[in-house]
Protein backbone atom coordinates (compact mmCIF):
# COMPACT_ATOMS: atom_id res chain seq x y z
CA UNK A 1 0.00 0.00 0.00
CA UNK A 2 1.25 3.44 -0.94
CA UNK A 3 0.01 6.46 0.98
CA UNK A 4 0.06 10.08 -0.10
CA UNK A 5 -0.46 12.62 2.67
CA UNK A 6 -2.25 15.44 0.88
CA UNK A 7 -1.56 19.12 1.48
CA UNK A 8 -4.27 21.73 1.26
CA UNK A 9 -5.06 25.25 2.33
CA UNK A 10 -8.34 27.19 2.22
CA UNK A 11 -10.10 24.05 1.03
CA UNK A 12 -7.92 23.71 -2.06
CA UNK A 13 -5.43 20.96 -2.75
CA UNK A 14 -1.89 22.21 -3.32
CA UNK A 15 -0.23 21.32 -6.61
CA UNK A 16 2.43 19.34 -4.71
CA UNK A 17 -0.34 16.87 -3.86
CA UNK A 18 -0.90 16.11 -7.56
CA UNK A 19 2.86 15.69 -7.98
CA UNK A 20 3.05 13.32 -5.00
CA UNK A 21 0.11 11.36 -6.44
CA UNK A 22 1.94 11.00 -9.78
CA UNK A 23 4.94 9.64 -7.87
CA UNK A 24 2.60 7.24 -6.03
CA UNK A 25 0.77 6.09 -9.17
CA UNK A 26 4.06 5.27 -10.87
CA UNK A 27 5.53 3.37 -7.91
CA UNK A 28 2.15 1.70 -7.44
CA UNK A 29 2.11 0.42 -11.00
CA UNK A 30 5.70 -0.82 -10.86
CA UNK A 31 5.31 -2.57 -7.52
CA UNK A 32 1.70 -3.68 -7.93
CA UNK A 33 0.62 -1.69 -4.89
CA UNK A 34 -2.66 0.19 -4.43
CA UNK A 35 -2.60 3.94 -3.72
CA UNK A 36 -4.39 5.67 -0.86
CA UNK A 37 -4.66 9.44 -0.44
CA UNK A 38 -5.01 10.72 3.12
CA UNK A 39 -6.80 13.99 3.88
CA UNK A 40 -6.52 15.44 7.36
CA UNK A 41 -8.67 18.45 8.21
CA UNK A 42 -12.06 19.71 9.26
CA UNK A 43 -14.87 19.87 6.69
CA UNK A 44 -12.76 18.46 3.90
CA UNK A 45 -15.30 16.15 2.21
CA UNK A 46 -15.08 18.32 -0.93
CA UNK A 47 -11.38 17.51 -1.22
CA UNK A 48 -12.11 13.80 -0.83
CA UNK A 49 -14.66 14.02 -3.66
CA UNK A 50 -12.08 15.68 -5.86
CA UNK A 51 -9.43 13.03 -5.05
CA UNK A 52 -11.93 10.24 -5.70
CA UNK A 53 -11.89 11.07 -9.42
CA UNK A 54 -8.16 10.32 -9.67
CA UNK A 55 -6.92 6.90 -10.58
CA UNK A 56 -6.30 5.75 -7.03
CA UNK A 57 -7.84 3.06 -4.86
CA UNK A 58 -8.93 4.79 -1.72
CA UNK A 59 -9.25 8.12 0.02
CA UNK A 60 -8.94 8.15 3.80
CA UNK A 61 -10.50 11.18 5.42
CA UNK A 62 -9.87 12.05 9.03
CA UNK A 63 -11.89 15.03 10.20
CA UNK A 64 -11.50 16.67 13.58
CA UNK A 65 -11.84 20.27 14.75
CA UNK A 66 -8.19 20.11 15.91
CA UNK A 67 -7.14 19.44 12.32
CA UNK A 68 -8.73 22.61 10.94
CA UNK A 69 -5.28 24.23 11.06
CA UNK A 70 -2.11 22.26 10.43
CA UNK A 71 -0.26 21.34 13.62
CA UNK A 72 2.78 19.05 13.77
CA UNK A 73 1.64 17.43 17.03
CA UNK A 74 -1.82 16.66 15.64
CA UNK A 75 -0.57 15.49 12.25
CA UNK A 76 1.95 13.10 13.80
CA UNK A 77 -0.63 11.69 16.19
CA UNK A 78 -3.34 11.31 13.52
CA UNK A 79 -0.98 9.72 11.01
CA UNK A 80 0.41 7.29 13.57
CA UNK A 81 -3.15 6.10 14.19
CA UNK A 82 -4.04 5.86 10.50
CA UNK A 83 -0.81 4.19 9.36
CA UNK A 84 -0.80 1.92 12.40
CA UNK A 85 -3.99 0.22 11.19
CA UNK A 86 -2.53 -0.47 7.76
CA UNK A 87 0.50 -2.07 6.20
CA UNK A 88 2.06 0.80 4.29
CA UNK A 89 4.94 0.17 1.92
CA UNK A 90 5.70 3.78 1.04
CA UNK A 91 4.33 7.01 2.52
CA UNK A 92 4.79 10.07 0.30
CA UNK A 93 4.69 13.63 1.62
CA UNK A 94 5.40 16.87 -0.26
CA UNK A 95 8.86 18.35 0.24
CA UNK A 96 7.33 21.63 1.39
CA UNK A 97 7.58 23.71 4.55
CA UNK A 98 4.57 21.80 5.88
CA UNK A 99 5.74 18.34 4.79
CA UNK A 100 9.22 18.88 6.18
CA UNK A 101 7.68 20.12 9.43
CA UNK A 102 6.10 16.78 10.38
CA UNK A 103 7.56 13.98 8.21
CA UNK A 104 10.92 13.88 10.07
CA UNK A 105 9.08 13.62 13.42
CA UNK A 106 6.95 10.78 12.11
CA UNK A 107 10.00 8.96 10.79
CA UNK A 108 11.76 9.18 14.15
CA UNK A 109 8.75 8.23 16.21
CA UNK A 110 8.24 5.07 14.11
CA UNK A 111 12.00 4.54 13.66
CA UNK A 112 11.55 4.12 9.91
CA UNK A 113 13.60 5.70 7.08
CA UNK A 114 12.74 9.04 5.49
CA UNK A 115 14.33 10.02 2.20
CA UNK A 116 13.79 13.74 1.73
CA UNK A 117 13.67 15.59 -1.59
CA UNK A 118 13.08 12.65 -3.94
CA UNK A 119 13.21 13.33 -7.67
CA UNK A 120 13.12 9.78 -9.07
CA UNK A 121 13.02 6.13 -8.09
CA UNK A 122 14.00 2.76 -9.49
CA UNK A 123 12.82 -0.77 -9.03
CA UNK A 124 15.76 -3.15 -8.51
CA UNK A 125 14.26 -6.60 -8.16
CA UNK A 126 11.67 -6.03 -5.48
CA UNK A 127 13.71 -3.26 -3.85
CA UNK A 128 12.80 0.38 -4.05
CA UNK A 129 15.70 2.74 -4.74
CA UNK A 130 14.87 6.39 -4.09
CA UNK A 131 16.90 9.12 -5.76
CA UNK A 132 17.20 12.50 -4.13
CA UNK A 133 19.04 15.73 -4.82
CA UNK A 134 22.09 16.62 -2.76
CA UNK A 135 24.77 19.33 -2.74
CA UNK A 136 22.42 22.11 -3.82
CA UNK A 137 20.93 20.02 -6.64
CA UNK A 138 24.33 19.63 -8.28
CA UNK A 139 24.36 15.91 -7.64
CA UNK A 140 21.85 13.15 -7.14
CA UNK A 141 22.07 10.33 -4.64
CA UNK A 142 20.52 6.89 -4.99
CA UNK A 143 19.55 5.51 -1.63
CA UNK A 144 18.57 2.06 -0.47
CA UNK A 145 16.27 2.06 2.53
CA UNK A 146 16.96 -0.48 5.26
CA UNK A 147 14.73 -2.76 7.24
CA UNK A 148 10.99 -3.26 7.15
CA UNK A 149 8.50 -0.88 5.57
CA UNK A 150 6.95 1.67 5.89
CA UNK A 151 9.43 3.93 4.16
CA UNK A 152 8.84 7.67 4.07
CA UNK A 153 9.72 9.92 1.15
CA UNK A 154 9.18 13.59 0.41
CA UNK A 155 8.60 14.54 -3.22
CA UNK A 156 10.72 17.45 -4.44
CA UNK A 157 8.49 20.16 -5.98
CA UNK A 158 8.60 20.04 -9.77
CA UNK A 159 10.20 16.59 -9.98
CA UNK A 160 6.95 14.83 -10.88
CA UNK A 161 4.65 16.46 -13.41
CA UNK A 162 1.21 17.28 -12.05
CA UNK A 163 -0.30 17.04 -15.55
CA UNK A 164 0.63 13.35 -15.68
CA UNK A 165 -1.83 12.61 -12.90
CA UNK A 166 -4.16 9.88 -14.15
CA UNK A 167 -7.84 10.22 -13.42
CA UNK A 168 -10.75 7.93 -14.14
CA UNK A 169 -10.78 6.02 -10.90
CA UNK A 170 -13.62 5.61 -8.55
CA UNK A 171 -11.85 5.43 -5.24
CA UNK A 172 -13.60 4.35 -2.12
CA UNK A 173 -13.86 7.09 0.51
CA UNK A 174 -13.22 5.86 4.03
CA UNK A 175 -13.78 8.06 7.06
CA UNK A 176 -11.51 7.38 9.98
CA UNK A 177 -12.22 8.66 13.46
CA UNK A 178 -9.20 10.08 15.21
CA UNK A 179 -8.86 10.94 18.86
CA UNK A 180 -6.08 12.89 20.43
CA UNK A 181 -4.47 12.49 23.81
CA UNK A 182 -1.29 14.52 23.48
CA UNK A 183 -1.01 18.30 23.79
CA UNK A 184 -0.90 20.81 20.92
CA UNK A 185 2.33 22.48 21.88
CA UNK A 186 2.70 24.83 18.95
CA UNK A 187 -0.20 27.21 18.47
CA UNK A 188 -0.90 29.39 15.46
CA UNK A 189 -1.24 33.05 16.38
CA UNK A 190 -1.62 34.58 12.94
CA UNK A 191 -0.83 34.09 9.29
CA UNK A 192 -0.14 37.12 7.14
CA UNK A 193 1.20 38.06 3.73
CA UNK A 194 4.78 39.25 4.01
CA UNK A 195 5.11 42.98 3.28
CA UNK A 196 5.33 43.41 -0.49
CA UNK A 197 7.30 46.62 -0.83
CA UNK A 198 7.55 48.76 -3.93
CA UNK A 199 8.96 46.23 -6.35
CA UNK A 200 6.32 44.15 -8.09
CA UNK A 201 8.04 41.83 -10.52
CA UNK A 202 4.94 39.81 -11.38
CA UNK A 203 4.08 41.96 -14.38
CA UNK A 204 7.62 42.75 -15.56
CA UNK A 205 8.19 41.63 -19.18
CA UNK A 206 11.96 41.35 -18.74
CA UNK A 207 13.89 40.64 -15.55
CA UNK A 208 17.64 40.65 -15.00
CA UNK A 209 18.29 38.74 -11.78
CA UNK A 210 21.63 38.56 -10.00
CA UNK A 211 22.93 36.05 -7.47
CA UNK A 212 25.80 35.42 -5.11
CA UNK A 213 28.11 35.09 -8.10
CA UNK A 214 28.27 38.89 -8.11
CA UNK A 215 30.47 38.57 -5.00
CA UNK A 216 29.69 41.94 -3.43
CA UNK A 217 27.11 44.65 -3.21
CA UNK A 218 28.93 47.22 -5.35
CA UNK A 219 29.22 44.77 -8.22
CA UNK A 220 25.44 44.68 -8.48
CA UNK A 221 25.61 47.89 -10.48
CA UNK A 222 26.45 45.86 -13.60
CA UNK A 223 23.08 44.11 -13.20
CA UNK A 224 21.29 47.45 -12.92
CA UNK A 225 23.16 48.74 -15.96
CA UNK A 226 22.12 45.77 -18.07
CA UNK A 227 18.54 46.11 -16.84
CA UNK A 228 18.51 49.79 -17.71
CA UNK A 229 19.86 49.18 -21.20
CA UNK A 230 17.09 46.61 -21.72
CA UNK A 231 14.32 48.53 -20.02
CA UNK A 232 14.07 45.59 -17.64
CA UNK A 233 13.38 45.12 -13.94
CA UNK A 234 15.97 43.80 -11.49
CA UNK A 235 15.53 40.66 -9.40
CA UNK A 236 17.76 38.71 -7.03
CA UNK A 237 18.35 35.35 -5.43
CA UNK A 238 17.93 34.97 -1.72
CA UNK A 239 21.56 35.28 -0.55
CA UNK A 240 21.72 38.72 -2.20
CA UNK A 241 18.85 39.82 0.02
CA UNK A 242 20.11 37.99 3.13
CA UNK A 243 23.43 39.83 2.77
CA UNK A 244 21.51 43.10 2.49
CA UNK A 245 22.82 44.00 -0.97
CA UNK A 246 19.18 44.59 -1.95
CA UNK A 247 15.88 44.78 -0.03
CA UNK A 248 13.72 41.65 0.40
CA UNK A 249 11.22 42.78 -2.24
CA UNK A 250 13.69 41.98 -5.04
CA UNK A 251 13.83 38.30 -4.15
CA UNK A 252 12.60 35.72 -6.65
CA UNK A 253 11.76 32.20 -5.50
CA UNK A 254 9.74 30.05 -3.15
CA UNK A 255 10.03 32.54 -0.31
CA UNK A 256 10.01 35.57 -2.59
CA UNK A 257 8.10 36.54 -5.71
CA UNK A 258 6.95 34.16 -8.40
CA UNK A 259 7.58 35.59 -11.84
CA UNK A 260 6.96 34.53 -15.40
CA UNK A 261 8.36 37.21 -17.72
CA UNK A 262 8.98 36.69 -21.40
CA UNK A 263 12.72 37.00 -20.76
CA UNK A 264 14.63 36.17 -17.56
CA UNK A 265 18.38 36.59 -17.15
CA UNK A 266 19.93 34.56 -14.32
CA UNK A 267 23.33 36.10 -13.66
CA UNK A 268 25.59 34.26 -11.20
CA UNK A 269 22.64 32.22 -9.88
CA UNK A 270 23.20 28.49 -9.38
CA UNK A 271 19.57 27.45 -9.77
CA UNK A 272 18.61 25.95 -6.41
CA UNK A 273 15.11 24.47 -6.41
CA UNK A 274 13.82 27.32 -4.22
CA UNK A 275 14.92 29.79 -6.87
CA UNK A 276 13.70 27.72 -9.82
CA UNK A 277 10.15 27.40 -8.54
CA UNK A 278 9.89 31.17 -8.69
CA UNK A 279 10.96 31.65 -12.30
CA UNK A 280 11.02 28.43 -14.31
CA UNK A 281 7.83 29.19 -16.21
CA UNK A 282 9.47 32.25 -17.81
CA UNK A 283 9.14 32.09 -21.60
CA UNK A 284 12.84 32.48 -22.31
CA UNK A 285 15.56 31.96 -19.71
CA UNK A 286 19.18 33.00 -20.20
CA UNK A 287 21.78 31.73 -17.73
CA UNK A 288 25.20 33.32 -17.34
CA UNK A 289 27.34 31.19 -15.06
CA UNK A 290 30.95 30.06 -15.09
CA UNK A 291 30.07 26.58 -13.84
CA UNK A 292 28.71 24.37 -16.62
CA UNK A 293 27.30 21.96 -14.02
CA UNK A 294 25.14 24.62 -12.32
CA UNK A 295 21.53 23.37 -12.21
CA UNK A 296 20.27 26.66 -13.68
CA UNK A 297 21.29 25.29 -17.10
CA UNK A 298 18.64 22.62 -16.66
CA UNK A 299 15.86 25.17 -17.08
CA UNK A 300 17.66 27.72 -19.26
CA UNK A 301 17.01 28.08 -23.00
CA UNK A 302 20.30 29.84 -23.69
CA UNK A 303 23.46 29.66 -21.65
CA UNK A 304 26.83 31.36 -21.61
CA UNK A 305 29.46 29.53 -19.57
CA UNK A 306 31.87 32.31 -18.75
CA UNK A 307 32.80 35.00 -16.26
CA UNK A 308 29.76 37.19 -15.68
CA UNK A 309 32.00 40.21 -15.14
CA UNK A 310 32.97 39.95 -18.81
CA UNK A 311 29.66 38.83 -20.31
CA UNK A 312 27.29 41.25 -18.60
CA UNK A 313 29.11 44.46 -19.57
CA UNK A 314 29.43 43.12 -23.13
CA UNK A 315 25.66 42.57 -23.28
CA UNK A 316 24.99 46.01 -21.82
CA UNK A 317 27.14 47.59 -24.49
CA UNK A 318 25.27 45.81 -27.29
CA UNK A 319 21.85 46.78 -25.96
CA UNK A 320 22.95 50.39 -25.50
CA UNK A 321 24.20 50.49 -29.09
CA UNK A 322 20.94 48.92 -30.30
CA UNK A 323 18.94 51.59 -28.52
CA UNK A 324 20.94 54.36 -30.15
CA UNK A 325 20.55 52.96 -33.65
Amino acid sequence: MIFVITEHRDNKLKSITSEALVFAQRVGQDFGQPVTAVVLGANVSGLADELKTKKIDRVIVAEHPDLAEYSPDRYVEALKTILGNEKPFLVIVGHTTQGMDFAPRLSVSLRRPLIAGCVEYEKQGDRLILTRQVFNAKMNMKTGVRGESPYFATASPGAFQADELQSGGNAEIVSVAVQFSGPVRRKLVERVEAPRGMVDLSAAPIIVAGGRGLKEKDNFKIVFELAEALGASVGASRPVVDSEWLPREYQVGSSGQTVSPKLYFAVGISGAIQHLVGMQTSRCIVAINKDVEAPIFKVAHYGIVDDLFKVVPALTKIFKDLKVS
Binding site: V108, L114, M139, T143, A300
Partner: protein, 265 residues
Protein backbone atom coordinates in the same frame (compact mmCIF):
# COMPACT_ATOMS: atom_id res chain seq x y z
CA UNK B 1 18.08 30.73 29.31
CA UNK B 2 20.14 27.77 28.28
CA UNK B 3 20.65 27.60 24.54
CA UNK B 4 22.45 24.97 22.48
CA UNK B 5 23.24 25.91 18.89
CA UNK B 6 24.20 23.20 16.38
CA UNK B 7 26.95 23.72 13.81
CA UNK B 8 27.61 21.41 10.90
CA UNK B 9 31.02 21.63 9.19
CA UNK B 10 30.55 21.71 5.40
CA UNK B 11 32.99 22.04 2.48
CA UNK B 12 33.81 25.68 1.78
CA UNK B 13 31.20 26.76 -0.81
CA UNK B 14 34.01 27.83 -3.14
CA UNK B 15 35.47 24.33 -3.30
CA UNK B 16 35.04 22.06 -6.27
CA UNK B 17 33.27 18.88 -5.24
CA UNK B 18 34.49 15.61 -6.73
CA UNK B 19 32.75 12.28 -6.28
CA UNK B 20 34.88 9.60 -4.58
CA UNK B 21 35.98 6.29 -6.20
CA UNK B 22 33.25 4.20 -4.64
CA UNK B 23 30.71 6.85 -5.75
CA UNK B 24 29.18 7.02 -2.28
CA UNK B 25 30.28 10.46 -1.19
CA UNK B 26 32.52 13.32 -2.23
CA UNK B 27 36.29 13.30 -1.81
CA UNK B 28 36.53 15.19 1.43
CA UNK B 29 40.14 14.77 2.56
CA UNK B 30 41.56 17.81 0.77
CA UNK B 31 38.66 20.17 1.36
CA UNK B 32 38.53 23.14 3.71
CA UNK B 33 35.50 23.09 5.98
CA UNK B 34 33.50 26.01 7.31
CA UNK B 35 30.34 26.31 9.39
CA UNK B 36 27.22 25.70 7.31
CA UNK B 37 25.82 29.15 6.54
CA UNK B 38 22.46 28.75 8.30
CA UNK B 39 24.32 27.76 11.46
CA UNK B 40 25.99 31.17 11.60
CA UNK B 41 22.54 32.75 11.58
CA UNK B 42 21.46 30.32 14.33
CA UNK B 43 24.45 31.13 16.52
CA UNK B 44 23.96 34.86 16.04
CA UNK B 45 20.33 34.48 17.12
CA UNK B 46 21.45 32.49 20.18
CA UNK B 47 23.95 35.21 21.13
CA UNK B 48 21.33 37.95 20.74
CA UNK B 49 18.87 36.03 22.92
CA UNK B 50 21.55 35.65 25.56
CA UNK B 51 22.43 39.34 25.42
CA UNK B 52 18.78 40.13 26.03
CA UNK B 53 17.88 37.50 28.61
CA UNK B 54 21.19 36.27 30.09
CA UNK B 55 22.08 32.60 30.14
CA UNK B 56 24.44 30.16 28.53
CA UNK B 57 25.13 29.49 24.86
CA UNK B 58 26.77 26.16 24.07
CA UNK B 59 27.64 25.07 20.54
CA UNK B 60 27.51 21.48 19.40
CA UNK B 61 29.07 19.80 16.40
CA UNK B 62 29.56 16.23 15.26
CA UNK B 63 32.50 15.55 12.98
CA UNK B 64 36.26 15.11 12.78
CA UNK B 65 38.97 17.77 13.23
CA UNK B 66 37.01 20.06 10.92
CA UNK B 67 34.25 20.20 13.56
CA UNK B 68 36.77 21.34 16.18
CA UNK B 69 37.75 24.20 13.84
CA UNK B 70 34.19 25.42 13.28
CA UNK B 71 33.59 25.18 17.03
CA UNK B 72 36.66 27.37 17.69
CA UNK B 73 35.24 29.98 15.31
CA UNK B 74 31.90 29.78 17.11
CA UNK B 75 33.61 30.35 20.46
CA UNK B 76 35.40 33.34 18.94
CA UNK B 77 32.03 34.69 17.77
CA UNK B 78 30.88 34.62 21.38
CA UNK B 79 29.56 31.19 22.40
CA UNK B 80 30.37 30.28 26.01
CA UNK B 81 31.44 26.68 25.52
CA UNK B 82 31.59 23.94 22.93
CA UNK B 83 30.84 20.24 22.68
CA UNK B 84 32.58 18.21 20.02
CA UNK B 85 31.10 14.81 19.17
CA UNK B 86 34.20 13.04 18.03
CA UNK B 87 34.46 9.34 17.34
CA UNK B 88 35.43 7.41 14.21
CA UNK B 89 32.25 5.44 14.84
CA UNK B 90 30.14 8.51 14.02
CA UNK B 91 31.30 8.49 10.42
CA UNK B 92 28.76 7.54 7.78
CA UNK B 93 25.76 8.67 9.84
CA UNK B 94 22.62 9.63 7.96
CA UNK B 95 20.30 12.36 9.23
CA UNK B 96 18.56 9.91 11.55
CA UNK B 97 21.74 8.68 13.21
CA UNK B 98 23.16 12.21 13.30
CA UNK B 99 20.04 13.51 15.02
CA UNK B 100 20.00 10.68 17.54
CA UNK B 101 23.65 11.30 18.42
CA UNK B 102 23.11 15.05 18.76
CA UNK B 103 20.03 14.44 20.90
CA UNK B 104 21.93 12.14 23.25
CA UNK B 105 24.61 14.79 23.68
CA UNK B 106 22.00 17.44 24.51
CA UNK B 107 20.48 15.09 27.08
CA UNK B 108 23.90 14.38 28.58
CA UNK B 109 24.46 18.12 28.85
CA UNK B 110 21.28 18.35 30.93
CA UNK B 111 18.91 19.41 28.13
CA UNK B 112 18.26 23.00 27.09
CA UNK B 113 15.50 25.59 27.00
CA UNK B 114 16.18 26.19 23.36
CA UNK B 115 18.06 24.21 20.71
CA UNK B 116 18.85 25.98 17.43
CA UNK B 117 19.79 24.31 14.17
CA UNK B 118 20.07 25.53 10.61
CA UNK B 119 17.04 25.21 8.33
CA UNK B 120 19.18 23.09 6.03
CA UNK B 121 22.85 22.37 5.58
CA UNK B 122 24.89 23.63 2.62
CA UNK B 123 25.99 20.15 1.55
CA UNK B 124 23.50 17.32 1.99
CA UNK B 125 20.81 19.87 2.72
CA UNK B 126 17.90 17.62 3.60
CA UNK B 127 16.63 19.97 6.30
CA UNK B 128 15.61 17.06 8.50
CA UNK B 129 18.07 17.10 11.35
CA UNK B 130 16.45 19.81 13.50
CA UNK B 131 12.97 18.30 13.36
CA UNK B 132 14.31 14.80 14.02
CA UNK B 133 16.27 16.18 16.94
CA UNK B 134 13.05 17.60 18.39
CA UNK B 135 11.33 14.22 18.20
CA UNK B 136 14.28 12.39 19.78
CA UNK B 137 14.32 14.93 22.61
CA UNK B 138 10.54 15.11 22.93
CA UNK B 139 10.69 18.91 22.50
CA UNK B 140 8.27 21.16 20.62
CA UNK B 141 9.66 22.64 17.41
CA UNK B 142 9.22 25.22 14.67
CA UNK B 143 10.89 25.24 11.26
CA UNK B 144 12.00 28.03 8.86
CA UNK B 145 12.18 30.61 11.62
CA UNK B 146 12.73 34.28 10.71
CA UNK B 147 12.11 35.88 14.09
CA UNK B 148 12.32 34.80 17.75
CA UNK B 149 10.93 36.43 20.87
CA UNK B 150 11.54 34.59 24.11
CA UNK B 151 9.82 35.04 27.46
CA UNK B 152 12.08 33.12 29.86
CA UNK B 153 9.84 33.90 32.87
CA UNK B 154 6.78 32.35 31.22
CA UNK B 155 8.98 29.80 29.44
CA UNK B 156 7.37 30.52 26.10
CA UNK B 157 8.49 31.55 22.65
CA UNK B 158 6.81 33.59 19.98
CA UNK B 159 8.28 32.66 16.65
CA UNK B 160 7.79 33.91 13.11
CA UNK B 161 7.96 31.30 10.36
CA UNK B 162 8.33 31.78 6.64
CA UNK B 163 5.98 29.72 4.48
CA UNK B 164 5.86 29.44 0.70
CA UNK B 165 4.46 32.16 -1.52
CA UNK B 166 5.22 35.18 0.64
CA UNK B 167 3.17 34.04 3.63
CA UNK B 168 4.50 34.37 7.17
CA UNK B 169 2.99 32.91 10.29
CA UNK B 170 3.48 33.55 13.97
CA UNK B 171 3.29 30.62 16.37
CA UNK B 172 3.62 30.23 20.10
CA UNK B 173 5.38 27.31 21.70
CA UNK B 174 6.69 26.35 25.12
CA UNK B 175 10.22 25.70 26.32
CA UNK B 176 12.00 23.38 25.66
CA UNK B 177 11.95 23.76 21.90
CA UNK B 178 14.01 23.20 18.78
CA UNK B 179 13.97 25.93 16.13
CA UNK B 180 15.41 25.61 12.63
CA UNK B 181 16.73 29.01 11.67
CA UNK B 182 16.22 30.41 8.19
CA UNK B 183 18.94 32.29 6.28
CA UNK B 184 18.76 36.06 6.65
CA UNK B 185 17.09 36.19 10.09
CA UNK B 186 19.89 38.54 11.22
CA UNK B 187 23.35 39.72 10.17
CA UNK B 188 25.86 37.41 11.88
CA UNK B 189 28.73 39.17 13.60
CA UNK B 190 32.37 38.53 12.81
CA UNK B 191 34.74 37.32 15.48
CA UNK B 192 36.72 40.20 16.94
CA UNK B 193 40.39 39.89 17.83
CA UNK B 194 39.35 39.99 21.48
CA UNK B 195 36.86 37.21 20.79
CA UNK B 196 39.51 35.08 19.16
CA UNK B 197 41.83 35.53 22.16
CA UNK B 198 39.03 34.81 24.63
CA UNK B 199 38.03 31.66 22.73
CA UNK B 200 41.34 30.03 23.60
CA UNK B 201 40.37 29.93 27.26
CA UNK B 202 36.84 28.62 26.72
CA UNK B 203 35.79 25.05 27.32
CA UNK B 204 35.77 22.68 24.35
CA UNK B 205 35.01 19.15 25.43
CA UNK B 206 34.89 16.04 23.26
CA UNK B 207 32.43 13.20 23.73
CA UNK B 208 32.57 9.77 22.12
CA UNK B 209 29.79 7.26 21.47
CA UNK B 210 30.70 5.52 24.73
CA UNK B 211 30.50 8.84 26.61
CA UNK B 212 26.96 9.24 25.28
CA UNK B 213 26.04 5.68 26.17
CA UNK B 214 25.16 4.96 22.55
CA UNK B 215 25.72 1.41 21.35
CA UNK B 216 27.56 0.80 18.09
CA UNK B 217 24.43 -0.16 16.17
CA UNK B 218 22.87 3.27 16.76
CA UNK B 219 25.68 5.50 15.52
CA UNK B 220 27.43 6.16 12.21
CA UNK B 221 26.83 3.82 9.32
CA UNK B 222 25.19 1.01 11.32
CA UNK B 223 22.76 3.52 12.84
CA UNK B 224 21.75 4.89 9.43
CA UNK B 225 18.28 4.15 8.08
CA UNK B 226 19.49 3.97 4.51
CA UNK B 227 22.63 3.33 2.53
CA UNK B 228 24.03 5.42 -0.27
CA UNK B 229 23.97 3.37 -3.47
CA UNK B 230 25.47 5.99 -5.72
CA UNK B 231 26.23 9.69 -5.88
CA UNK B 232 26.26 11.00 -9.45
CA UNK B 233 25.91 14.13 -11.53
CA UNK B 234 22.49 13.84 -13.15
CA UNK B 235 22.24 13.94 -16.89
CA UNK B 236 20.46 17.15 -17.65
CA UNK B 237 17.45 16.61 -19.83
CA UNK B 238 17.81 20.18 -20.82
CA UNK B 239 16.88 22.23 -23.80
CA UNK B 240 19.72 24.66 -23.19
CA UNK B 241 21.76 25.93 -26.07
CA UNK B 242 25.21 26.87 -24.83
CA UNK B 243 26.59 29.81 -26.73
CA UNK B 244 30.34 29.75 -27.17
CA UNK B 245 33.09 32.18 -28.11
CA UNK B 246 34.77 35.00 -26.26
CA UNK B 247 32.53 36.98 -23.91
CA UNK B 248 31.95 39.61 -26.61
CA UNK B 249 31.23 37.05 -29.33
CA UNK B 250 28.89 35.05 -27.10
CA UNK B 251 27.06 38.21 -26.04
CA UNK B 252 26.58 39.24 -29.68
CA UNK B 253 25.35 35.77 -30.70
CA UNK B 254 22.97 35.67 -27.75
CA UNK B 255 21.40 39.01 -28.65
CA UNK B 256 20.91 37.80 -32.24
CA UNK B 257 19.16 34.68 -30.99
CA UNK B 258 16.98 36.58 -28.54
CA UNK B 259 15.84 38.85 -31.36
CA UNK B 260 15.56 36.46 -34.31
CA UNK B 261 14.95 33.04 -32.77
CA UNK B 262 13.21 33.55 -29.43
CA UNK B 263 11.80 36.91 -30.54
CA UNK B 264 11.61 38.20 -26.99
CA UNK B 265 13.28 41.56 -27.57
Amino acid sequence: MKIISCIKPVPDPASRLIINESKTWIKDNDLTFVASEADNYALEEALRLKEKHQGDVAILSMGGDEAARVLRSGLAMGADRAIHLLDPKFKGADEFAAAETLAKAIEKDGGADLVLAGVQSDDLGTGMTGVMLAEFLGYAHATVVIGVEADPAAKTLKVKRELEGGINETVELPFPAVLTIQFGINQPRYASLKGIMAAKKKELKAWSAADLGLSDNLVGKPGAMYEVKEVFVPERKSRVEIITGTAEEAAAKLVEKLRKEAKVI
